[in-house]
Symmetry: D2
Subunit: 129 residues, 4 copies
Protein backbone atom coordinates (compact mmCIF):
# COMPACT_ATOMS: atom_id res chain seq x y z
CA UNK A 1 0.00 0.00 0.00
CA UNK A 2 1.00 3.63 -0.43
CA UNK A 3 1.54 5.97 2.48
CA UNK A 4 -1.93 7.37 1.87
CA UNK A 5 -3.43 3.86 1.76
CA UNK A 6 -2.16 3.15 5.27
CA UNK A 7 -3.62 6.43 6.48
CA UNK A 8 -6.96 5.32 4.97
CA UNK A 9 -6.65 1.85 6.51
CA UNK A 10 -6.12 3.21 10.01
CA UNK A 11 -9.19 5.45 9.68
CA UNK A 12 -10.96 2.14 10.34
CA UNK A 13 -9.61 2.35 13.90
CA UNK A 14 -12.89 3.46 15.49
CA UNK A 15 -11.40 3.86 18.93
CA UNK A 16 -8.68 6.24 17.74
CA UNK A 17 -11.07 8.05 15.42
CA UNK A 18 -13.54 8.73 18.23
CA UNK A 19 -10.67 10.60 19.87
CA UNK A 20 -9.69 12.68 16.86
CA UNK A 21 -6.26 11.08 16.53
CA UNK A 22 -5.04 11.75 12.98
CA UNK A 23 -2.13 10.05 11.23
CA UNK A 24 -0.24 12.64 9.20
CA UNK A 25 2.58 10.49 7.82
CA UNK A 26 3.12 6.76 7.45
CA UNK A 27 5.97 4.88 5.82
CA UNK A 28 7.67 1.54 6.56
CA UNK A 29 9.02 1.78 10.11
CA UNK A 30 7.91 5.35 10.66
CA UNK A 31 4.68 7.18 11.43
CA UNK A 32 3.55 10.51 12.78
CA UNK A 33 0.18 11.45 14.28
CA UNK A 34 -1.44 14.52 15.82
CA UNK A 35 -4.01 14.98 18.59
CA UNK A 36 -5.51 18.16 19.96
CA UNK A 37 -6.50 17.75 23.61
CA UNK A 38 -10.13 18.72 24.22
CA UNK A 39 -12.76 18.14 26.90
CA UNK A 40 -13.35 14.54 25.85
CA UNK A 41 -9.73 13.57 26.58
CA UNK A 42 -9.75 14.71 30.20
CA UNK A 43 -9.61 12.56 33.31
CA UNK A 44 -11.18 13.37 36.68
CA UNK A 45 -8.18 15.64 37.38
CA UNK A 46 -8.87 17.75 34.26
CA UNK A 47 -5.67 16.76 32.42
CA UNK A 48 -5.38 14.41 29.42
CA UNK A 49 -6.15 10.83 30.50
CA UNK A 50 -3.16 8.50 30.31
CA UNK A 51 -5.21 6.29 28.04
CA UNK A 52 -5.52 9.10 25.49
CA UNK A 53 -1.72 9.48 25.35
CA UNK A 54 -1.28 5.70 25.21
CA UNK A 55 -3.78 5.38 22.36
CA UNK A 56 -2.03 8.15 20.42
CA UNK A 57 1.32 6.32 20.78
CA UNK A 58 -0.18 2.88 20.11
CA UNK A 59 -1.87 3.92 16.88
CA UNK A 60 1.31 5.62 15.66
CA UNK A 61 3.35 2.49 16.38
CA UNK A 62 0.75 0.28 14.69
CA UNK A 63 0.90 2.42 11.54
CA UNK A 64 4.71 2.33 11.42
CA UNK A 65 4.77 -1.43 12.01
CA UNK A 66 2.05 -2.40 9.54
CA UNK A 67 3.57 -0.17 6.85
CA UNK A 68 6.29 -2.83 6.57
CA UNK A 69 3.68 -4.79 4.65
CA UNK A 70 2.83 -7.58 7.08
CA UNK A 71 0.14 -7.58 9.75
CA UNK A 72 1.72 -6.61 13.07
CA UNK A 73 0.00 -6.34 16.43
CA UNK A 74 1.26 -5.10 19.77
CA UNK A 75 2.25 -7.64 22.42
CA UNK A 76 3.79 -5.31 25.03
CA UNK A 77 4.13 -1.58 25.62
CA UNK A 78 5.71 0.63 28.23
CA UNK A 79 4.73 4.30 28.67
CA UNK A 80 6.30 6.97 30.88
CA UNK A 81 4.27 10.07 31.65
CA UNK A 82 6.62 13.05 31.96
CA UNK A 83 4.33 16.08 31.84
CA UNK A 84 0.59 16.65 31.91
CA UNK A 85 -1.27 17.71 28.77
CA UNK A 86 -4.09 20.23 29.04
CA UNK A 87 -7.11 21.27 26.96
CA UNK A 88 -5.91 23.09 23.87
CA UNK A 89 -2.51 21.37 23.78
CA UNK A 90 -1.60 20.03 20.37
CA UNK A 91 0.33 16.78 20.68
CA UNK A 92 2.51 15.11 18.07
CA UNK A 93 3.46 11.45 18.26
CA UNK A 94 6.39 10.16 16.23
CA UNK A 95 7.09 6.42 15.97
CA UNK A 96 10.51 5.18 14.90
CA UNK A 97 11.49 1.58 14.30
CA UNK A 98 14.20 0.39 16.67
CA UNK A 99 14.50 -3.10 15.23
CA UNK A 100 12.67 -5.17 12.60
CA UNK A 101 13.08 -8.90 13.05
CA UNK A 102 11.32 -11.64 11.12
CA UNK A 103 8.58 -12.15 13.69
CA UNK A 104 8.96 -9.29 16.20
CA UNK A 105 9.66 -5.59 15.80
CA UNK A 106 10.49 -2.84 18.29
CA UNK A 107 9.35 0.78 18.21
CA UNK A 108 9.97 3.94 20.20
CA UNK A 109 7.40 6.72 20.24
CA UNK A 110 7.89 10.27 21.53
CA UNK A 111 4.85 12.41 22.31
CA UNK A 112 5.63 16.12 22.28
CA UNK A 113 3.70 19.35 22.44
CA UNK A 114 4.02 21.65 19.44
CA UNK A 115 6.31 23.66 21.71
CA UNK A 116 8.69 20.68 21.58
CA UNK A 117 8.14 19.78 25.25
CA UNK A 118 8.32 16.01 25.79
CA UNK A 119 5.04 14.75 27.31
CA UNK A 120 5.47 10.98 27.25
CA UNK A 121 7.79 8.29 25.92
CA UNK A 122 6.56 4.90 24.74
CA UNK A 123 8.35 1.68 23.78
CA UNK A 124 6.51 -1.24 22.23
CA UNK A 125 6.99 -4.65 20.69
CA UNK A 126 4.83 -5.98 17.88
CA UNK A 127 4.41 -9.52 16.65
CA UNK A 128 4.39 -9.94 12.85
CA UNK A 129 2.02 -12.47 11.36
CA UNK B 1 -14.46 9.72 50.85
CA UNK B 2 -16.60 6.62 50.88
CA UNK B 3 -16.29 3.89 48.27
CA UNK B 4 -19.32 5.37 46.50
CA UNK B 5 -17.80 8.86 46.62
CA UNK B 6 -14.75 7.63 44.70
CA UNK B 7 -16.98 6.01 42.12
CA UNK B 8 -18.75 9.37 41.74
CA UNK B 9 -15.44 11.23 41.54
CA UNK B 10 -14.16 9.06 38.70
CA UNK B 11 -17.36 9.61 36.74
CA UNK B 12 -15.67 12.96 36.04
CA UNK B 13 -13.16 11.04 33.90
CA UNK B 14 -14.69 12.04 30.55
CA UNK B 15 -12.28 9.90 28.55
CA UNK B 16 -13.15 6.72 30.41
CA UNK B 17 -16.85 7.62 30.49
CA UNK B 18 -16.97 8.07 26.72
CA UNK B 19 -15.84 4.45 26.55
CA UNK B 20 -18.42 3.07 28.95
CA UNK B 21 -15.82 1.99 31.51
CA UNK B 22 -17.63 1.59 34.84
CA UNK B 23 -16.02 1.29 38.27
CA UNK B 24 -17.92 -1.31 40.28
CA UNK B 25 -15.85 -1.33 43.48
CA UNK B 26 -13.31 1.04 45.00
CA UNK B 27 -11.54 0.86 48.34
CA UNK B 28 -8.06 1.89 49.52
CA UNK B 29 -5.58 -0.05 47.37
CA UNK B 30 -8.20 -1.96 45.44
CA UNK B 31 -10.61 -1.29 42.58
CA UNK B 32 -12.63 -3.23 40.06
CA UNK B 33 -14.11 -2.00 36.78
CA UNK B 34 -16.10 -3.45 33.90
CA UNK B 35 -16.14 -2.76 30.16
CA UNK B 36 -18.26 -4.34 27.46
CA UNK B 37 -16.45 -4.29 24.11
CA UNK B 38 -18.56 -2.70 21.39
CA UNK B 39 -18.01 -1.21 17.94
CA UNK B 40 -16.49 1.97 19.35
CA UNK B 41 -13.63 0.08 21.00
CA UNK B 42 -12.38 -1.60 17.84
CA UNK B 43 -9.16 -0.94 15.96
CA UNK B 44 -8.62 -1.31 12.21
CA UNK B 45 -8.24 -5.06 12.77
CA UNK B 46 -11.73 -5.34 14.33
CA UNK B 47 -10.49 -6.31 17.81
CA UNK B 48 -10.45 -4.13 20.94
CA UNK B 49 -7.86 -1.36 20.54
CA UNK B 50 -4.91 -1.66 22.92
CA UNK B 51 -5.73 1.83 24.13
CA UNK B 52 -9.16 0.68 25.30
CA UNK B 53 -7.60 -2.07 27.42
CA UNK B 54 -4.94 0.33 28.70
CA UNK B 55 -7.57 2.92 29.66
CA UNK B 56 -9.60 0.28 31.51
CA UNK B 57 -6.51 -0.74 33.51
CA UNK B 58 -5.33 2.82 34.06
CA UNK B 59 -8.70 4.02 35.45
CA UNK B 60 -8.91 1.00 37.74
CA UNK B 61 -5.40 1.67 39.08
CA UNK B 62 -6.16 5.38 39.54
CA UNK B 63 -9.26 4.55 41.58
CA UNK B 64 -7.36 2.10 43.82
CA UNK B 65 -4.49 4.56 44.31
CA UNK B 66 -6.58 7.66 45.01
CA UNK B 67 -8.79 5.73 47.43
CA UNK B 68 -5.81 5.88 49.81
CA UNK B 69 -6.88 9.46 50.39
CA UNK B 70 -4.13 11.41 48.66
CA UNK B 71 -3.99 12.54 45.04
CA UNK B 72 -2.00 9.99 43.04
CA UNK B 73 -1.17 10.12 39.34
CA UNK B 74 0.50 7.58 37.09
CA UNK B 75 4.14 8.06 36.15
CA UNK B 76 4.80 4.76 34.35
CA UNK B 77 2.83 1.75 33.15
CA UNK B 78 3.61 -1.50 31.39
CA UNK B 79 0.91 -3.53 29.63
CA UNK B 80 1.14 -7.01 28.07
CA UNK B 81 -1.52 -8.03 25.56
CA UNK B 82 -2.16 -11.76 25.89
CA UNK B 83 -5.37 -12.36 23.97
CA UNK B 84 -7.58 -10.28 21.70
CA UNK B 85 -10.95 -9.01 22.92
CA UNK B 86 -13.88 -8.98 20.52
CA UNK B 87 -17.24 -7.18 20.24
CA UNK B 88 -19.57 -8.51 22.91
CA UNK B 89 -16.78 -9.54 25.28
CA UNK B 90 -17.32 -8.35 28.84
CA UNK B 91 -14.02 -7.43 30.46
CA UNK B 92 -13.27 -7.08 34.17
CA UNK B 93 -10.25 -5.18 35.44
CA UNK B 94 -9.07 -5.73 39.00
CA UNK B 95 -6.37 -3.48 40.50
CA UNK B 96 -4.43 -4.61 43.56
CA UNK B 97 -1.86 -2.57 45.46
CA UNK B 98 1.59 -4.13 45.38
CA UNK B 99 3.29 -1.50 47.55
CA UNK B 100 2.28 1.80 49.12
CA UNK B 101 5.21 4.07 49.91
CA UNK B 102 5.08 7.64 51.14
CA UNK B 103 5.46 9.18 47.69
CA UNK B 104 5.15 6.31 45.23
CA UNK B 105 2.81 3.33 45.02
CA UNK B 106 2.79 0.22 42.82
CA UNK B 107 -0.24 -1.56 41.36
CA UNK B 108 -0.93 -4.68 39.36
CA UNK B 109 -4.04 -4.95 37.20
CA UNK B 110 -5.44 -8.09 35.59
CA UNK B 111 -7.95 -7.77 32.75
CA UNK B 112 -10.05 -10.89 32.29
CA UNK B 113 -13.09 -11.93 30.29
CA UNK B 114 -16.13 -13.03 32.29
CA UNK B 115 -15.04 -16.52 31.27
CA UNK B 116 -11.94 -15.98 33.41
CA UNK B 117 -9.58 -15.87 30.42
CA UNK B 118 -6.69 -13.48 31.02
CA UNK B 119 -6.65 -10.78 28.31
CA UNK B 120 -3.96 -8.38 29.50
CA UNK B 121 -1.74 -7.70 32.52
CA UNK B 122 -0.74 -4.22 33.61
CA UNK B 123 1.75 -2.89 36.16
CA UNK B 124 1.92 0.76 37.08
CA UNK B 125 3.58 3.23 39.41
CA UNK B 126 1.81 6.29 40.78
CA UNK B 127 3.27 9.38 42.40
CA UNK B 128 1.45 10.60 45.52
CA UNK B 129 1.09 14.36 46.00
CA UNK C 1 15.37 -33.27 29.22
CA UNK C 2 14.46 -34.10 32.79
CA UNK C 3 14.06 -31.47 35.49
CA UNK C 4 17.58 -32.33 36.69
CA UNK C 5 18.96 -32.06 33.14
CA UNK C 6 17.77 -28.46 32.88
CA UNK C 7 19.35 -27.69 36.23
CA UNK C 8 22.61 -29.13 34.88
CA UNK C 9 22.27 -27.19 31.61
CA UNK C 10 21.87 -23.86 33.39
CA UNK C 11 24.97 -24.53 35.48
CA UNK C 12 26.68 -23.54 32.22
CA UNK C 13 25.43 -19.99 32.89
CA UNK C 14 28.78 -18.65 34.09
CA UNK C 15 27.39 -15.22 34.93
CA UNK C 16 24.71 -16.62 37.23
CA UNK C 17 27.08 -19.21 38.68
CA UNK C 18 29.63 -16.57 39.62
CA UNK C 19 26.86 -15.07 41.73
CA UNK C 20 25.85 -18.27 43.48
CA UNK C 21 22.37 -18.31 41.95
CA UNK C 22 21.07 -21.89 42.25
CA UNK C 23 18.07 -23.35 40.43
CA UNK C 24 16.19 -25.62 42.84
CA UNK C 25 13.28 -26.68 40.61
CA UNK C 26 12.65 -26.59 36.87
CA UNK C 27 9.70 -27.92 34.91
CA UNK C 28 7.92 -26.75 31.72
CA UNK C 29 6.70 -23.22 32.42
CA UNK C 30 7.91 -23.11 36.00
CA UNK C 31 11.21 -22.64 37.80
CA UNK C 32 12.45 -21.72 41.24
CA UNK C 33 15.89 -20.43 42.25
CA UNK C 34 17.65 -19.30 45.41
CA UNK C 35 20.28 -16.66 46.12
CA UNK C 36 21.90 -15.71 49.41
CA UNK C 37 22.98 -12.06 49.39
CA UNK C 38 26.64 -11.66 50.31
CA UNK C 39 29.34 -9.01 49.97
CA UNK C 40 29.80 -9.67 46.26
CA UNK C 41 26.18 -8.71 45.48
CA UNK C 42 26.33 -5.25 47.02
CA UNK C 43 26.23 -1.91 45.27
CA UNK C 44 27.91 1.30 46.43
CA UNK C 45 25.01 1.81 48.84
CA UNK C 46 25.64 -1.54 50.56
CA UNK C 47 22.38 -3.17 49.45
CA UNK C 48 21.94 -5.87 46.78
CA UNK C 49 22.65 -4.42 43.33
CA UNK C 50 19.60 -4.25 41.08
CA UNK C 51 21.52 -6.30 38.56
CA UNK C 52 21.83 -9.15 41.05
CA UNK C 53 18.05 -9.26 41.51
CA UNK C 54 17.51 -8.94 37.76
CA UNK C 55 19.92 -11.80 37.05
CA UNK C 56 18.17 -14.00 39.61
CA UNK C 57 14.80 -13.34 37.92
CA UNK C 58 16.18 -13.64 34.40
CA UNK C 59 17.81 -17.03 35.02
CA UNK C 60 14.65 -18.35 36.66
CA UNK C 61 12.54 -17.22 33.68
CA UNK C 62 15.03 -18.71 31.21
CA UNK C 63 14.85 -22.07 32.98
CA UNK C 64 11.04 -22.07 32.99
CA UNK C 65 10.91 -21.06 29.32
CA UNK C 66 13.53 -23.47 28.00
CA UNK C 67 11.98 -26.34 29.94
CA UNK C 68 9.21 -26.25 27.35
CA UNK C 69 11.70 -28.00 25.12
CA UNK C 70 12.55 -25.29 22.60
CA UNK C 71 15.33 -22.71 22.83
CA UNK C 72 13.86 -19.49 24.22
CA UNK C 73 15.68 -16.22 24.82
CA UNK C 74 14.54 -13.02 26.46
CA UNK C 75 13.57 -10.06 24.29
CA UNK C 76 12.16 -7.71 26.96
CA UNK C 77 11.92 -7.54 30.73
CA UNK C 78 10.48 -5.15 33.27
CA UNK C 79 11.56 -5.19 36.93
CA UNK C 80 10.13 -3.27 39.88
CA UNK C 81 12.27 -2.92 43.00
CA UNK C 82 10.00 -2.90 46.07
CA UNK C 83 12.34 -3.42 49.00
CA UNK C 84 16.11 -3.51 49.47
CA UNK C 85 17.90 -6.81 50.09
CA UNK C 86 20.79 -6.90 52.55
CA UNK C 87 23.78 -9.17 53.25
CA UNK C 88 22.53 -12.42 54.75
CA UNK C 89 19.10 -12.22 53.13
CA UNK C 90 18.06 -15.44 51.42
CA UNK C 91 16.04 -14.69 48.27
CA UNK C 92 13.75 -17.03 46.40
CA UNK C 93 12.71 -16.39 42.80
CA UNK C 94 9.69 -18.19 41.37
CA UNK C 95 8.89 -17.99 37.64
CA UNK C 96 5.43 -18.83 36.38
CA UNK C 97 4.34 -18.97 32.77
CA UNK C 98 1.66 -16.41 31.93
CA UNK C 99 1.23 -17.43 28.31
CA UNK C 100 2.93 -19.84 25.91
CA UNK C 101 2.45 -18.95 22.26
CA UNK C 102 4.09 -20.58 19.27
CA UNK C 103 6.89 -18.03 18.98
CA UNK C 104 6.65 -15.88 22.11
CA UNK C 105 6.03 -16.69 25.75
CA UNK C 106 5.34 -14.51 28.81
CA UNK C 107 6.57 -15.06 32.37
CA UNK C 108 6.08 -13.42 35.75
CA UNK C 109 8.72 -13.76 38.44
CA UNK C 110 8.36 -12.90 42.14
CA UNK C 111 11.47 -12.44 44.27
CA UNK C 112 10.78 -12.89 47.96
CA UNK C 113 12.81 -13.16 51.15
CA UNK C 114 12.45 -16.42 53.10
CA UNK C 115 10.26 -14.31 55.41
CA UNK C 116 7.83 -14.03 52.49
CA UNK C 117 8.45 -10.30 52.01
CA UNK C 118 8.18 -9.32 48.34
CA UNK C 119 11.48 -7.75 47.18
CA UNK C 120 10.96 -7.36 43.42
CA UNK C 121 8.53 -8.31 40.66
CA UNK C 122 9.63 -9.12 37.13
CA UNK C 123 7.75 -9.64 33.87
CA UNK C 124 9.46 -10.89 30.74
CA UNK C 125 8.85 -12.00 27.19
CA UNK C 126 10.91 -14.71 25.49
CA UNK C 127 11.19 -15.52 21.82
CA UNK C 128 11.07 -19.23 20.96
CA UNK C 129 13.36 -20.50 18.21
CA UNK D 1 31.56 15.76 44.35
CA UNK D 2 33.61 16.05 41.21
CA UNK D 3 33.14 13.78 38.19
CA UNK D 4 36.16 11.77 39.39
CA UNK D 5 34.72 11.52 42.90
CA UNK D 6 31.58 9.83 41.57
CA UNK D 7 33.71 7.40 39.57
CA UNK D 8 35.56 6.59 42.82
CA UNK D 9 32.29 6.27 44.75
CA UNK D 10 30.84 3.74 42.30
CA UNK D 11 33.99 1.63 42.52
CA UNK D 12 32.38 0.59 45.80
CA UNK D 13 29.75 -1.24 43.71
CA UNK D 14 31.20 -4.72 44.29
CA UNK D 15 28.70 -6.41 42.01
CA UNK D 16 29.55 -4.20 39.02
CA UNK D 17 33.27 -4.33 39.83
CA UNK D 18 33.29 -8.13 39.85
CA UNK D 19 32.09 -7.86 36.26
CA UNK D 20 34.68 -5.36 35.09
CA UNK D 21 32.14 -2.64 34.39
CA UNK D 22 34.02 0.68 34.32
CA UNK D 23 32.49 4.16 34.46
CA UNK D 24 34.40 6.41 32.09
CA UNK D 25 32.42 9.66 32.48
CA UNK D 26 29.97 10.93 35.08
CA UNK D 27 28.30 14.31 35.34
CA UNK D 28 24.88 15.45 36.60
CA UNK D 29 22.29 13.63 34.50
CA UNK D 30 24.81 11.86 32.31
CA UNK D 31 27.15 8.89 32.57
CA UNK D 32 29.05 6.56 30.31
CA UNK D 33 30.48 3.12 31.08
CA UNK D 34 32.35 0.37 29.26
CA UNK D 35 32.29 -3.42 29.51
CA UNK D 36 34.30 -5.98 27.56
CA UNK D 37 32.40 -9.26 27.29
CA UNK D 38 34.47 -12.20 28.48
CA UNK D 39 33.86 -15.80 29.57
CA UNK D 40 32.46 -14.73 32.94
CA UNK D 41 29.59 -12.78 31.33
CA UNK D 42 28.22 -15.71 29.34
CA UNK D 43 24.97 -17.57 29.87
CA UNK D 44 24.30 -21.23 29.09
CA UNK D 45 23.85 -20.24 25.44
CA UNK D 46 27.36 -18.72 25.23
CA UNK D 47 26.20 -15.14 24.73
CA UNK D 48 26.30 -12.29 27.24
CA UNK D 49 23.78 -12.93 30.04
CA UNK D 50 20.89 -10.45 30.09
CA UNK D 51 21.83 -9.68 33.67
CA UNK D 52 25.27 -8.49 32.56
CA UNK D 53 23.70 -6.01 30.13
CA UNK D 54 21.14 -4.95 32.73
CA UNK D 55 23.85 -4.36 35.34
CA UNK D 56 25.87 -2.29 32.88
CA UNK D 57 22.82 -0.09 32.18
CA UNK D 58 21.75 0.07 35.83
CA UNK D 59 25.17 1.23 37.07
CA UNK D 60 25.37 3.85 34.33
CA UNK D 61 21.92 5.19 35.25
CA UNK D 62 22.78 5.19 38.97
CA UNK D 63 25.91 7.24 38.30
CA UNK D 64 24.03 9.80 36.18
CA UNK D 65 21.24 10.06 38.76
CA UNK D 66 23.42 10.34 41.86
CA UNK D 67 25.65 12.92 40.17
CA UNK D 68 22.76 15.33 40.67
CA UNK D 69 23.93 15.46 44.28
CA UNK D 70 21.15 13.60 46.06
CA UNK D 71 20.94 9.89 46.78
CA UNK D 72 18.83 8.24 44.07
CA UNK D 73 17.91 4.57 43.80
CA UNK D 74 16.12 2.67 41.07
CA UNK D 75 12.45 1.78 41.54
CA UNK D 76 11.66 0.39 38.06
CA UNK D 77 13.53 -0.49 34.89
CA UNK D 78 12.63 -1.82 31.47
CA UNK D 79 15.22 -3.41 29.16
CA UNK D 80 14.85 -4.56 25.55
CA UNK D 81 17.41 -6.99 24.17
CA UNK D 82 17.96 -6.25 20.48
CA UNK D 83 21.10 -8.17 19.58
CA UNK D 84 23.29 -10.72 21.32
CA UNK D 85 26.73 -9.76 22.60
CA UNK D 86 29.61 -12.22 22.28
CA UNK D 87 32.99 -12.79 23.93
CA UNK D 88 35.37 -10.04 22.86
CA UNK D 89 32.63 -7.48 22.20
CA UNK D 90 33.30 -4.10 23.77
CA UNK D 91 30.06 -2.52 24.96
CA UNK D 92 29.43 1.12 25.77
CA UNK D 93 26.50 2.25 27.89
CA UNK D 94 25.40 5.88 27.81
CA UNK D 95 22.81 7.18 30.28
CA UNK D 96 20.93 10.40 29.57
CA UNK D 97 18.46 12.12 31.88
CA UNK D 98 14.97 12.30 30.42
CA UNK D 99 13.41 14.19 33.34
CA UNK D 100 14.54 15.35 36.76
CA UNK D 101 11.68 15.96 39.19
CA UNK D 102 11.93 16.74 42.87
CA UNK D 103 11.47 13.14 44.01
CA UNK D 104 11.66 11.04 40.86
CA UNK D 105 13.91 11.11 37.82
CA UNK D 106 13.81 9.28 34.49
CA UNK D 107 16.75 7.96 32.46
CA UNK D 108 17.30 6.32 29.11
CA UNK D 109 20.35 4.14 28.50
CA UNK D 110 21.63 2.86 25.16
CA UNK D 111 24.06 -0.06 25.07
CA UNK D 112 26.06 -0.21 21.86
CA UNK D 113 29.01 -2.13 20.51
CA UNK D 114 32.08 -0.10 19.56
CA UNK D 115 30.88 -0.68 15.99
CA UNK D 116 27.86 1.47 16.88
CA UNK D 117 25.41 -1.45 16.71
CA UNK D 118 22.59 -1.07 19.24
CA UNK D 119 22.55 -4.09 21.60
CA UNK D 120 19.96 -3.10 24.20
CA UNK D 121 17.84 -0.12 25.29
CA UNK D 122 16.98 0.57 28.91
CA UNK D 123 14.58 3.01 30.59
CA UNK D 124 14.54 3.51 34.33
CA UNK D 125 13.00 5.57 37.10
CA UNK D 126 14.89 6.52 40.25
CA UNK D 127 13.54 7.80 43.54
CA UNK D 128 15.48 10.72 45.06
CA UNK D 129 15.92 10.75 48.84
Amino acid sequence: MENTDYIEFFKKDRYAALFDIKLTEVKPGYARAILKITEKHLNAGDVAQGGALFTLADLTMAAAANANGRLAFSIQSDIRFLQSAFPGDILYAEANEVLLHKTVCHYHVDIKKDTGELIAIFDGICYRK
